[in-house]
């Protein structure tokens, strides 16, 4: 679908919600709408002039309370390609260091009438708090251990681009499940779209009651990888030994690290994904990360298209442009 086709499409062309706080509250139709829209957005990125006027005159604030390179950059490029006026606020330069609360920071920004706030915050639910006090649309760019919805959407887009579908695929997610917001968003998305979702980690890094998410839990990498269509590795934070989650990076790599050898158990055309940043030689070997099955850089490229789609749809999509 091209962006022109999208705008003349008579189906629902906007997300009928103010914010994107998580995948959990999205329907499978909304997820498909975002992925379809992202296809059109990806086409914009392939042009020599990579800009459309969809968000002209709109102000988007990227409010980042945690350091982030790829997510913030990806959002910023997406916003600029949609012609939005963008503003980046990083925690180190904001008045938060002077003791201002999140609520006051948000109210101060809100007084300047931005249309959207893209929020990255270390506390789970920070976006929900902002959503209750702001008229601006809130886009969650990662909140604590809770969700990172645009990451899951770009993962799904990347899978769908290759496999044309998500339903019925075996997706194995391996790594630090306990501390991963990428995991939670992906679980909601994959189960809603009918994927056969497996998660694998040492028991110390598995959240409580994981099975209630509708996934299969295993501590055997071989079981997780066997016949998998997609293997997604999650980052192991190097300091986790201190919480006694595992004994050493070397041991983790030995038991759970993804190697070419292990990958032989997967489907021959398996896709290797990683949300980044990677610890090469820990959760993923360089041979796998840079190998023929890796779509890790496709994920990054698709991130821009998916974020354009989310921004566009939350701004009202084609409906907005008709009334503008």
């Amino acid at each position: 679908m091209t962006i022109q086709e999208l705008e003349s499409d008579t189906r629902v062309t906007s997300l009928r919600r103010k914010d994107l706080l998580g995948i959990e509250e999205l329907s499978s139709e909304e997820i498909e709408l975002i992925l379809d829209t992202a296809e059109a957005m990806k086409e914009v990125g392939a042009r020599s002039i990579k800009k459309v006027p969809a968000l002209r005159g709109r102000t988007v604030v990227n409010l980042f309370f945690e350091p982030s390179t790829r997510t913030r950059t990806s959002f910023e490029i997406a916003e600029k390609r949609l012609s939005a006026d963008t503003l980046n606020i990083a925690v180190s330069t904001s008045s938060v260091v002077k003791g201002e609360t999140l609520v006051d920071t948000a109210l101060t920004l809100e007084a300047m009438s931005p249309d959207m706030i893209v929020l990255r915050h270390q506390s789970s639910g920070a976006g929900h708090l902002l959503s209750r006090i702001c008229k601006s649309a809130i886009i969650n760019a990662g909140d604590g251990l809770h969700e990172h919805p645009t990451q899951a959407l770009l993962d799904a887009f990347t899978i769908r681009e290759r496999r044309k579908r998500l339903a019925g695929l075996k997706v194995a997610i391996i790594g630090d499940l306990l501390h991963s917001r990428v995991l939670r968003s992906n679980l909601h998305l994959l189960t809603k779209m009918g994927a056969d979702t497996w998660v694998c980690a040492p028991p110390t890094l598995v959240p409580a009651d994981m099975r209630r998410f509708g996934v299969t839990v295993t501590h055997s990498v071989d079981q997780a990888v066997r016949d998998a269509d997609v293997v997604m590795l999650l980052r192991i934070q190097l300091e986790r030994m201190e919480g006694a989650y595992f004994s050493s990076l070397r041991e983790y790599a030995t038991v759970f690290g993804m190697t070419e050898e292990r990958l032989k158990l997967a489907k021959p055309d398996v896709m290797i994904m990683h949300p980044g940043p990677m610890n090469r030689g820990v959760e993923i070997s360089s041979e796998v990360a840079d190998g023929p099955y890796s779509v890790i850089l496709d994920q990054v490229a698709n991130g821009v298209a998916v974020r354009m789609a989310v921004l566009y749809l939350l701004a009202g999509g084609a409906e907005h442009e008709e009334t503008a």
Partner: protein, 436 residues
Amino acid sequence: MKRLLKGGRLVDPANNLDGAYDVLIEGDRVAAVGRNLPVDDAAVVTIPAGYVVSPGLIDMHVHLREPGQEHKETVATGTASAVAGGFTAVACMPNTTPVNDNANVTGLILAKAAEAALARVYPIGAVSKGSKGSLLADIAELRQAGCVAITDDGHPVATALLLRRALEYASMFNMPVIEHCEDPTLKGDGVAHEGFHASRLGLRGIPGACEALGVERGVLLSELTGAAFHVAHMSARASLRAVRKGKDAGIRVTCEVAPHHFTLTDEALGTPVPYDTNTKMNPPLREAEDRDAMLEGLRDGSIDVIATDHAPHHLDEKRVEFDRAPFGIVGLETAVPLCLDRLVHANVVGLSRLIELLSVNPARILGVPGGSLAVGQPADVTILAPDLRVTVEAAKLRSRSKNTPFDGWTLRGGTAATIVAGRTVYANAAAPIAGL
């Protein structure tokens, strides 16, 4: 001055009374109890049919925040909240600023309580100096100044050795040690019950075993010392199991549960308002199996007391990210409606058992007057309206803080009036009583 409470239903389990009895109050004492008492020269208070006359309710676990945190609550606002909730007495925790670890702080709290002249206030002293967990507080001095128990509430007593010593030492003054049961290493930086909902919301978990370990430790040390050990705000089914085991072995262990722990579950973390910081308390709201175990413990008698853990926090402190918000909710004004609605009307316990939980047993455990309307007892009376429809309005709470997860709830049952030492300190306009 004489007042005759005439009509209604007297429920006084300590004296095995449940029925149409009148209560004559003379001055600050109960002067007579009986059927159709003669009026003589008494002023008549006509209790409407269906209302219940109860010995004054006693909340043995509240935080009045004074001295030092008066932006959250004061003795005056906290006792106003207590009497509006039907409590004639409260026992207040020592985690004030400074900590109530000496007679000066105890004296200040009692002076403020006398000035407010609403509910009776029984201060609870600290186990350790500054509740820091190394040196014992001056417990004899605290006892003499008016403390009725000791605790390092907010935290568990730091070591098993200190808890052992506290139990031994306090037993010579007949004071129970009240313990906030928790293994700090298992709690870590947890903010919610470890289970599906915390996993889903990305909140760091606190397992039930964290509390139960503290209960097991206390029960073992109570057995070792022969001293009275009371488990504060119990929430986990494993804790209840440990308490039952201790009781069966004849160990002097008692326990309390808060209304929020027999009403809510961890599902409230996500609905109706996701990450509502008024669903954050310690111990946390547990899963349904734990909530059901608390109801069962109330029903079968293994739980001794209902106490609110009234923990006021200012809106500014609660209107922050979930993991940064302080633990705790206010409870004094919602306890009676929750107890009547969720326990009595739901047929978990009868009124007589409820009054044991809210009055008789806390008086016995703390060794304070009340819990009985026998002749000569203080005229502390709570008049309940079990069928009154009550809608909780946070903004209208008498507490200085409004941090309740029950805002907007409609419940069946409330307090009609509260009488302390023969004096009416609260009369609910929605449940008028002639002659009060």
